[in-house]
Symmetry: C2
Subunit: 383 residues, 2 copies
C-alpha cells in the first residue's frame, strides 16, 4: 500500500547522513515505464527553493523518469551553490539510473537557509540506487519525514490499475499548497496533458484547501508519474476521481499530523454565491488565531467566526449569517441561537458550518487549532 | 496627562456592574465647547457591532458632543435588541448632558454575542454624568480597560493648545484598526474637515500599522473631539504632526500591552517601489505564525521572513533580498550572511529590516511574537 503498489516503479529510502539522528533521509523513486508521462504542481511562493527552481524546468516536457527527495535540509536561500547541489544530485541520479538529468525531479525539505553536504547527498543517491526495490515505497515514505510523526501513504484501486501516493508535511500547511512533498504513482496509461488536468483538479479541492497555519512553504512539490505498466487507459473522469480521492486521503493525513494540533477543523461554507467566496470565507476563519485558540480551549466562540467573515469580500448580508459548530446552530441571523454549551469540543474532529444565504455554492477548508504545542514546536525547531 | 488635559472637556469613569469584578466599566467624555467639531474612523470589518452602526451615523455631520464607552460587553451580534440598547444609551446621555442623542458616539468592548443589561448601562450613564469632572480623564481611561493590564493615555502639547488621548486594546490588534477604542480630545480650533484629514493621516501610519495577531475587530472606533477652548487655530500640518505623534504613542502602548506577548517587533521595509508594497511586505511577516513563534523562541529565523515575502505581490527580485534582525544582516542577496548567533533576541524590542532594492519608499509595521501566554489567554478568555 505505497507508491510501489502500482506496477512499473521501484523505490528506496536510505540514511545519507543529512539528519543528525541517523534516520532515513533520502528517497529515490524510479519509473520503469513503458510510459514516462508526468505532471507537477509547485508552491505559489515567489521565494522558491533551489530544487523547485530546477524541477519546474524538468517537468515542462511532461516526461519524468525519477524523483529524488531529501529531508534534513530544504536547500532554500542557499544561493547559486545550492542550485549547483540540486543540479549535481539530478546528474548523479541520471547517471546511476541511466536517464537524463533533465528527467529527474529533485525535492528537498527541512530547514531553510542551510546548505546540505553535496558529498553526503551524492553518496546517498548511490546508496538509494543500490537499494531500489519494487517494494521500496514504504522506505521512501519514511525517508522524507521531517517533523512528521508518521509516514503518509495511500492507495486507490481502479479497474485493473491503481494509484499510490506518499506525502510529507506537518506544518506550514497553507495554500496554494501545504508545506509538503508528494509523489504519486500510477500504472494507468495517462498522457501528460490529462495527468496535468487531473492533478490540478485534484489538488484544487484537497491540498489547496489545507490551511494549517497560514504559512506558505518554499519547497512544495506534488509530482505524479504514470508508468502505463497496467496497459489500461481509464477515462479521464474516472482517473481524476481516483486521483482526487488519493490526494484528499493524503491531505487528511497531513491535517491529522499537523505540528502540535489538538483538533482538526473542517470549515464548510454553504449557500455561497461562488466557490471562490466559499473558499475565501473558509480561509479567513482558518487563519484566525483567535478562533483557533478558542477551539484549543474548547470554547465554541462563534463571534470570532463572524469577525473573520467580516474581513472577506464574499457576498453576504452581515446581519443574516448562520453558524453551526458540530451541528449546533449557535448563531442564526448573526445573533445568538442554540446554547453554545451544547457544542462538545472534546473530540479532535470539529466541524464549522457557515451559511452565507447568498447562492448555491459550497467549499470546505481544513485547518487545525492553535495550541501551546504549536508554539513550542515552532519556537524550538531550529534553536 | 489625560483626555481632560486639553481645556473644555469633562470626563468620568464609573462601575456600572457590567464587569463581574466590580471594576470601572463605563466612561463618559463631554465636550463643553465652544466648538464641537469631530472626526472618527471605524473598523473596516463588514460585521460591525451595534455601537459602530449607531456611531457611524452620528459622526456624519462632523458634530459630536459626548462619547460614552463601556467595557464588559461589545454589544456585537446581539441583533435589533442590541441596537436598541445602544440607542437608549445615547438617548440617556443626551438627556443628562443636555444634547441631542444624535451627537453622542457610543463605543462598547468586551465579549461579542453577549447582551449587556440595558438597565445597568442606563444607571451607569446617570452615575457617570454625576461624576463628570474636569479631572476625570484618568478614571475614564481605566473604565474602558478589558484584558488591558494598564491604562493607555498620552498628551501632546502644542503652542497654547494640546491634544489628549486614551485607548484600550490588548489583542485582535489588526488593520484597518487594532481592536481598540480611542478617544482623542483637543482644545485647538480645528474645523471638522481638517480634523478628518488629520485623523486619517495619523491613523494610517499608527493604528493601521499595528498587526498584533491578524484579527480585525468588530468594534474599533477612534473619535477626536475639538473644543476650541484654547481659542488657537494651529496650522493643519502642525496639528496633523501632533495628532500623529499622539496616535503613535498610544499605538506603541497598545503594542507593548498585547495579550501574552514577550516581544514587540518592528518590521521596517526599505527601498520598496511603493509605500503600499512596504506595508504589504511588513504585514505578511507580521502575520507569519512561524516567524512570530520563532521570535518567541529567540530564534533569528530569517528564512521565515523570506518565505512570507514570497506570498506578497510587492516588487522585488526573490534572489536579491537582504534581511537584518536587530541590525545584524543575517541575509544578503537571499543567502546566509552574518552569523545569526550575533542576533540577541533577549530584549523585548526586536527590529527586522527588509531591503527590497526596488525603489525609495519605506514603512514600518508593528507586531508581537506568538507565545504560550497568547494561546492561553485567547483560549481561556470566554470559557
Amino acid at each position: 500500500m505505497s507508491i510501489t503498489t502500482p506496477a512499473g516503479f521501484s523505490a528506496a529510502g536510505v540514511a545519507a547522513g543529512l539528519k543528525s539522528t541517523g534516520a532515513k533521509d533520502l528517497a529515490l523513486v524510479v519509473n520503469h515505464g513503458p510510459t514516462f508521462d508526468s505532471a507537477s504542481v509547485f508552491t505559489a511562493n515567489r521565494c522558491k527553493a533551489n530544487p523547485v527552481l530546477w524541477s519546474q524546468e524538468v517537468v515542462k516536457d511532461g516526461i519524468v523518469r525519477a524523483v529524488v527527495l531529501n529531508s534534513g535540509g530544504a536547500n532554500c536561500y542557499t544561493g547559486p551553490e545550492g542550485f549547483q547541489t540540486t543540479h549535481a544530485v539530478a546528474e548523479r541520479v541520471g547517471a546511476t539510473v541511466g536517464v537524463g538529468a533533465v528527467d529527474v525531479v529533485v525535492c528537498s525539505t527541512g530547514l531553510i537557509g542551510l546548505a546540505n553536504s553535496r558529498e553526503d547527498l551524492l553518496a546517498g543517491v548511490d546508496a538509494a540506487h543500490a537499494a531500489l526495490s519494487p517494494d521500496g515505497g514504504d522506505d521512501a515514505a519514511h525517508a522524507i519525514m521531517t517533523t512528521d510523526s508518521v509516514s503518509k501513504q495511500a492507495v486507490v484501486e481502479g479497474a485493473g490499475w491503481s494509484i499510490g501516493g506518499m506525502a510529507k508535511g506537518a506544518g506550514m500547511l497553507a495554500p496554494q499548497l501545504a508545506t509538503m512533498l508528494v509523489v504519486v504513482t500510477t500504472d494507468a496509461v495517462v498522457p501528460a496533458a490529462d495527468l496535468d488536468a487531473a492533478l490540478r483538479a485534484a489538488t484544487r479541492v484537497s491540498f489547496d484547501r489545507l490551511d494549517s497555519d497560514g504559512c506558505m512553504s518554499t519547497n512544495d512539490t506534488v509530482t505524479v508519474l504514470a508508468s502505463g505498466a497496467s496497459g489500461i487507459t481509464p477515462s479521464l473522469p474516472d482517473f481524476t476521481e481516483a486521483l482526487t480521492q488519493l490526494c484528499t486521503d493524503l491531505a487528511m493525513q497531513l491535517l491529522r499530523d499537523a505540528e502540535g494540533a489538538d483538533h482538526e477543523i473542517a470549515i464548510t461554507t454553504v449557500n455561497a454565491a461562488t466557490t471562490d467566496d466559499a473558499v475565501e470565507v473558509g480561509r479567513s476563519v482558518a487563519r484566525s488565531n483567535l478562533f483557533k485558540a478558542a477551539v484549543f480551549g474548547k470554547d465554541p466562540n462563534w463571534g470570532r467566526v463572524l469577525a473573520s467573515l467580516g474581513t472577506t469580500s464574499a457576498a453576504f448580508d452581515p446581519a443574516d449569517l448562520d453558524v453551526a459548530m458540530n451541528g449546533v446552530w449557535v448563531c442564526r441571523s448573526s445573533t445568538p441561537a442554540e446554547d453554545p454549551a451544547l457544542v462538545d469540543l472534546a473530540p479532535r474532529e470539529v466541524s464549522v458550518t457557515i451559511d452565507l444565504k447568498a447562492g448555491g455554492e459550497r467549499a470546505t477548508v481544513w485547518t487545525n487549532d492553535l495550541t501551546h504545542a504549536y508554539v513550542h514546536e515552532n519556537s524550538a525547531y531550529s534553536s
